[in-house]
């Protein structure tokens, strides 16, 4: 199972539809301060079902929608689509390719799609449970967060060990 592609539109600093293809091995994402690299990390978390606005560096979930610049208007929704290669069948779905979409409108309405079929957020988070990509997963380390695994708050650390066991 691996990540095939990510499509981002209206999410944080990506108002324009942006397609990123991923391959096996090591992909490096580079660019100047403030260009949008960590926003891509946030998009990956978000489409996998992240609900903590703190983890997404905002104060309200609405903060993930492109808010406009001094020369471009805000957008009305944010959307991220992730395509996963499932040919090893690790995800409990009868598809060799799994497509997950999450959409949030400024009204507060959300939409979730699994292979283009509407579903609930719970269906997405349940799908990725036990893959290490979920809430207590250890597969995404945010900027400035690598030291957390050593921190005194050993209940968090404990949870990571349990998730891996």
């Amino acid at each position: 199972m691996h990540l095939k592609s990510l499509e981002i539109q209206g999410f944080k600093s990506f108002p324009e539809r942006t397609f990123i293809e991923f391959h096996k091995g090591v992909t490096a994402i580079i660019g100047p301060n403030g260009s949008g690299k960590s926003n891509i990390t946030d998009a990956i978390r978000w489409v996998l079902g992240e609900q903590s606005v703190k983890t997404l560096r905002g104060s309200r979930m609405e903060d993930v929608i492109f808010t406009g610049t001094q020369s471009r208007r805000a957008m009305g929704f944010a959307e991220v689509t992730m395509v996963i290669d499932n040919s090893d069948g690790k995800l409990p779905l009868d598809y060799t390719e799994v497509q997950v979409t999450r959409r949030l409108y400024r009204s507060g309405e959300s939409e979730y799609l699994l292979n283009k079929t509407t579903c609930r957020l719970r269906d997405i988070t349940t799908l990725f449970m036990d893959t290490g990509l979920g809430r207590d997963g250890y597969s995404i380390v945010g900027q400035g967060r690598v030291d957390d695994i050593l921190s005194h708050r050993s209940e968090d650390r404990r949870r990571v060990f349990e998730e891996a066991s």
Partner: protein, 152 residues
Amino acid sequence: MKKQFVDHFSLINENFKQVFAELFGGGVAEVGLEDEQDVLACGIEIRAQPPGKKLQNLLLLSGGERCLTAIALLFAILRLRPTPFCVLDEVEAALDDANVLRFTDYIRRHSEDAQYILVTHRKGTMEAADRLYGVTMQERGISRILSMKLGE
């Protein structure tokens, strides 16, 4: 349930010793359960001793040593239970160039069938990548992505 946790925990411990020694070029490290009588709820201790140094409180380690120790523990857990892909956002910020090389060498040695997405500012990490994506803000506040050929 308890047996599985204890077995997996000791495997993570084994991995941690190995990965730590690999990243530090020596030294000793281990994870331990704070209370052997309360395995399912007790805390987890971490002990790390870089090569040639005495075992001290983790707090006394340098910023770079703590960073490399954290990376070693993460890799130890991933070795037991690999995830489909791994996203690391500037985790090597505190490492000097020599340690960035150890970090990337480890990833390259252990990356068959793995998928790593590394957000980075470091040359060493860029040079170790199979593919490079550049994020730009030509138009202020608007991100765009360019696929970049390596060696560019």
